[in-house]
């Protein structure tokens, strides 16, 4: 999975760099934006637009796994539930999980990075060693261990767990940025004028590290949706009665030959969401990048260089 397995690559990918040419095309970006707006609207009002409830079992014998029809445009699943109602609802849950989780990651990672980078010295050294330790446990393995051992984990627990295992890369980037910004003229000037450290960090360092965080966060939404789908595949993701798209996919995958519609719809929506977020992330990088770190800081080492 590009997202879960290659999280580390992703951290590399999103680190600050000078872009020489836009990655995507303007048309692609517009399509991604449009898709995201539609999906966002679906997530918010979708479940109110369709009269079936996503968990209602209509007739477990007669309406089990029926093909798409006028009454059920996307068919019914093996519990005789309406697939359209479920996809509308699942989009909401999947997006909610992903967005809340990356917000947790971004907040924790940014705070940690700013503190480490701005404080410097032994605090920075200790904090970065801790990140090394955390990064050396494969994220998927860690998530599987915790989720499987304490299954069933409630939805908020799942969100927190995903969020709290996703901030290490952000923290590293932010720390590098903060380190660089700290010694720039405007920050030095503010310190010389007697501004307290937190104020300098807040006023001068934070705004300068925000754009890589925004890029990383946008790209991370796609990651988390894929990650959650993978966890659902193992039976430890979101669960009924709050099913994500991944949960629906997993529930129907055994019938993919006999009742393809139940597995097709949530599958397509997941891929569209993830592609849209990735395209948007690329576009954001193109737009925000030029004022990034100068010169060879781009060859910054994955491991902090020893002082």
């Amino acid at each position: 999975m590009p997202a879960t397995s290659l999280a580390a690559i992703r951290h590399e990918l999103t680190r600050p760099r000078r872009a020489a040419a836009p990655l995507g095309t303007a048309a692609g970006t517009r399509a991604a934006l449009a898709a995201l707006i539609v999906l966002g609207v679906i997530a918010i009002v979708g479940p109110y637009l369709w009269h079936y409830r996503p968990t209602a079992q209509l007739d477990i014998v007669a309406l089990k796994s029926t093909a798409p029809s006028w009454n059920h445009p996307l068919g019914t699943d093996r519990f005789s539930r309406d697939v359209l109602a479920r996809v509308l609802f699942g989009t909401r849950i999947s997006l909610a999980i992903a967005i809340l989780a990356v917000l947790v990651s971004a907040t924790v990672g940014t705070t940690y990075g700013v503190v480490a980078g701005y404080a410097g010295g032994w605090i920075d050294a200790v904090l970065m060693r801790l990140i090394d330790a955390l990064l050396s446990v494969p994220r998927v393995l860690l998530l599987i261990a915790v989720l499987a051992l304490w299954n069933p984990v409630p939805l908020w627990g799942l969100i927190l767990l995903i969020g709290l295992t996703g901030w290490f890369g952000v923290a590293r980037q932010v720390r590098a940025q903060a380190l660089a910004v700290r010694d720039r003229d405007f920050a030095t000037a503010a310190r010389a004028l007697g501004a307290p450290p937190w104020l300098v960090a807040w006023r001068h360092v934070l705004p300068n590290v925000l754009s890589p965080v925004i890029i990383a966060t946008t790209l991370a939404v796609g990651d988390v949706i894929v990650l959650e789908a993978g966890l659902s595949f193992l039976g430890i993701g979101a669960r009924e009665p709050m099913p994500s798209l991944g949960t629906m996919f997993q529930d129907a995958v055994a019938q993919s030959v006999t009742a393809w519609w139940a597995v097709f719809s949530p599958g397509i929506v997941i891929v569209v969401i993830v592609m849209a977020f990735n395209t948007l992330g690329d576009a954001l990088r193109d737009a925000l990048d030029p004022r990034q770190l100068p010169g060879h800081a781009m060859h910054e080492h994955p491991e902090p260089v020893d002082a």
Binding site: T55, Q57, I60, V61, F79, S80, A148, R239, A254, T258
Partner: protein, 558 residues
């Protein structure tokens, strides 16, 4: 409908194939061929008194022999139906307190050593040794010991004259080689080399086991009961259900033990693969904890009342759920027993499916619907968590169905899906409201004393719902001490009715599993307790053999 059609066509195919087999029998030997079985979970300990997983039992039953083998009707009283195995014949003592078994002088261990009466003495002592901690210890409780009369005659002694004495020694105890095991401390047997490379007397001998990947048996050509017809049986461990099924369809595997109804639907029109339904002695139910999980001395706040339990039972459309999960291949539970059990009875009175009655019953008990439609009494909502092991797809499906059906009656069900070890830990600690559970019996109703009798109701016992009724205990005891099979059965049925009336559980379905098998394979009769009982008699006709069937018994290249 389409499944019964499918089965019918599969059956007719089988008949056709059987005809062709007789023709081929003249042209070639029935011996030879390789059976590849795709199975989801690995084996554990390959030592009969410690084997816990299904695959371990399958392997142990091929590699080891009993003194006598139970008949296909699974009759457990006296020695009726039992056929000779390691023992050629046996003599009962006049007081029925001991039986002398005469060992087949041709019987040899797979390492060439002859089987001796002292092996029987050693085996019985080992099964009863508390240091071994065999789960079969309760089943051999009535066996006192075995002694050696001469090198080929072993005498097995019993504590009491019981109807199932012969069954206890013949069915529960597989004979083990003293010369290979006597030097290993019993507590070390579980992790011993022998438990990974067993040596027995069966018609298949153990060849090799790559943990997590494959396990291989080969025919014992010098066997005293004649060699197994198949050259070898290879179990491939395939955890993902789709992958295992794909292996079967592509011909990589010949037998796939557990299929879903959707996979069976895909078999329609496939001439190479047919459905393989086999009976079992497992039955599944939704059990109610009768005691408060927080204060075990007190009854459960909801399920302590038998009328609530009956109302829930009446609210569940057991047939509809069965139809949804198994299509036409399911087997509804007739009561607290699997239908393959000799004492099973189809006429037991169970609470009928009647939602109106169920609602009225709950209303009369003070569980009234609130503004949101959900029931409550004195401010306490009628809500509980239903614990389910996620490893069972069928039970997870049932949980989702039950959740929606009870919601309609105003009962909130939270599905607590958890991995099996956690499920087990909650069962042991009696820390649950309700659970979807499956018990597996052996052919005797004796297991009921542990699973539903007062004796198992204490913490640490197997009766996890804590059911206790002296009438049930007494009837079951009468059943187990009757020497007349008809009387024994009558007592057992009365005991089941008492259990059904108290409704400590909703009896859902018999675990009647349907696998799928290549039509190349010609099976022997499938016994209800273990479909693999006659595996050594299965054949692959020469005309239908493929590459892997023709490699013969020669040693593998290094």
């Amino acid at each position: 409908m389409r499944f019964s059609l499918l089965l019918a066509s599969a059956a007719s195919l089988l008949t056709l194939a059987a005809c062709s087999e007789t023709r081929q029998a003249a042209s070639g030997s029935p011996d030879g061929g390789t059976l590849v079985i795709a199975t989801p979970t690995d084996a554990d300990v390959l030592l009969p008194p410690l084997a816990a997983t299904q695959l371990s039992r399958e392997v142990c039953d091929q590699v080891f022999d009993h003194l006598a083998e139970i008949g296909d009707s699974l009759q457990t009283i006296g020695d009726a139906g039992f056929t000779p195995r390691l023992a050629q014949r046996w003599d009962w003592a006049r007081d029925s307190l001991s039986i002398a078994f005469h060992i087949d002088p041709k019987a040899r261990w797979h390492d060439g050593q002859p089987v001796r009466a002292s092996d029987v003495r050693f085996t019985v002592a080992l099964y009863k040794n508390p240091k071994l901690a065999s789960p079969f210890t309760p089943q051999v409780a009535n066996i006192d010991s075995a002694s050696v009369r001469d090198s080929l005659t072993a005498v097995v002694w019993f504590h009491q004259r019981r109807p199932e004495a012969f069954y206890d020694i013949a069915y529960q105890v597989a004979i083990l080689p003293e010369h290979l095991l006597r030097d290993i401390a019993p507590e070390k047997l579980m992790t011993s080399q022998f438990a990974r490379h067993p040596v027995g007397t069966g018609r298949f001998r153990f060849a090799r086991w790559d943990a997590g990947s494959r396990l291989e048996l080969v025919a014992d050509t010098a066997n005293y009961r004649g060699r197994a017809h198949l050259d070898r049986v290879v179990y491939t461990i395939t955890p993902d259900n789709n992958t295992g099924f794909t292996q079967l369809l592509s011909g990589q595997a010949d037998l796939f033990e557990i299929t879903t109804p959707d996979q069976l639907a895909q078999l329609k029109g496939n001439a190479k693969v047919r459905a393989f339904p086999y009976p079992s002695l497992q039955y599944a139910f939704m059990g109610f904890n009768l005691h408060d999980p927080k204060q075990p001395a007190r009854p459960h706040p909801i399920f302590g009342d038998a009328r609530v339990r009956r109302a829930i039972s009446m609210a569940l459309d057991r047939r509809g759920m069965l139809r949804n999960v198994f299509d036409t291949l399911g087997a509804i539970a007739y009561g607290p027993f699997p239908r393959s059990l000799g004492s099973a009875d189809t006429t037991l009175r169970l609470p009928p499916f009647d939602t109106t009655h169920a609602a009225a019953l709950l209303d009369s008990l003070g569980w009234k619907r609130g503004a949101d439609g959900m029931r409550a009494r004195d401010g306490h909502p009628l809500a509980f968590t239903l614990q389910v092991p996620t490893s069972s797809r069928v039970r997870m499906t049932y949980a989702t169905l039950i959740q929606d059906q009870l919601r309609r009656l105003g009962i909130t069900v939270d599905i607590g899906g958890m991995q099996f070890p956690e499920f087990m830990a909650h069962q042991d600690a009696r820390d649950f409201d309700a659970s979807l559970n499956a018990y597996s019996t052996d052919p005797s109703p004796g297991g009921y004393t542990q699973n539903w009798g007062s004796g198992g109701a204490h913490k640490g016992g197997s009766n996890s719902v804590g059911y206790s009724n002296p009438v049930f205990d007494a009837l079951l005891d009468s059943a187990l001490t009757s020497f007349d099979p008809a009387r024994a059965r009558a007592y057992a049925v009365r005991a089941y009715q008492v259990l059904a009336d108290d409704a400590p559980a909703v009896w859902l379905y018999d675990v009647l599993t349907v696998g799928a098998i290549s039509t190349r394979i010609h099976t022997a009769p499938l016994r209800a307790d273990e479909w693999w009982a006659h595996l050594a008699d299965w054949t692959i006709p020469p005309a239908e053999r493929i590459d892997r069937d023709r490699i013969g018994l020669g040693a593998a290249k290094p």
